[in-house]
Symmetry: C2
Subunit: 134 residues, 2 copies
DNA sequence: CTACTTGCAAAGCCTTTGCAAACTA
DNA sequence: TAGTTTGCAAAGGCTTTGCAAGTAG
């Protein structure tokens, strides 16, 4: 993790470590504003701009995955397997779906059929979560 | 198509018809700005706000599908089958993938396992398209 | 010591909102 | 005619940029 950053000429700072730790511990899918609030507890002077810059580096490094949502991206600590995200239209909660191994299979098929070099995939399901159905 | 709108208390206007026609004819995946430019040829006084308002109605009506991309949503005329979108990181082109019928199967599984009522799904592959590889 | 990172403020961009005039059914 | 849609302008919200000061290696 540290080495990956350094190989790219980036540095591991306390901010970056803390951000990665929040992702890993919380198991959530925070957006930039939520990360900002959490990080301010440890680093009262941190700025939103730093959050965005940090996220950019970690994304390029493959340590953080960006979930593109309508004008409000959320982020996921990089899981070792491809999995869908279930997004509740009512409460906005984001739930990790199961491993979807065949995503790789589809990827393979697409690489061949369309001659398209896949770098990343994203599978989203929008709907209503269990809690919001009652 | 016309009836679906009327059932919801919406009206079919020349703007809306033209927008749908562009989607159907072009087979592309324009964003709001691109639709604006095309529609201005026919309706010189049309505004971007109208584009967004129209897209909102057509989305709710299920006639247009929104592809959430980082701060720049693109739109797809509603296809009768679920299919992935291949997004080129270099030229930005969006390619329709094949029918992915098992998406429904995964959906079923997720509905049951997570008790999550799916309204819509989105499968994106980011990478480099054929043209941009040379 | 050099190069990267941070924080602040400002700018950028896409998208939404409010309201009066125009239009559909 | 009643209720929806349009266009304009302004506001809103998320994200990026520039630059000087601070910090990692």
């Amino acid at each position: 993790m540290l080495t990956k950053l350094q190989d790219r000429g980036s540095r591991m700072t306390s901010h970056r470590l803390a951000l990665l730790r929040i992702m890993a511990v919380s198991e959530g899918h925070p957006n930039a504003a939520q990360l900002y609030e959490k990080l301010r507890e440890q680093f009262p002077t941190i700025s939103l701009a730093t959050i965005y810059k940090t996220l950019l580096v970690l994304k390029e490094d493959g340590q953080v995955f960006e979930i593109d949502m309508h004008n409000d991206s959320h982020y996921d600590g990089n899981k070792p397997y491809p999995h869908p995200h279930l997004i509740c239209n009512k409460c906005g909660d984001i739930i990790d779906g199961d491993d979807v191994s065949f995503l790789d299979a589809i990827g393979q098929e697409i690489q061949e059929k369309y001659n398209f070099q896949i770098a990343q995939s994203q599978l989203l399901f929008y709907g209503v979560c269990q809690n919001c159905q009652s």
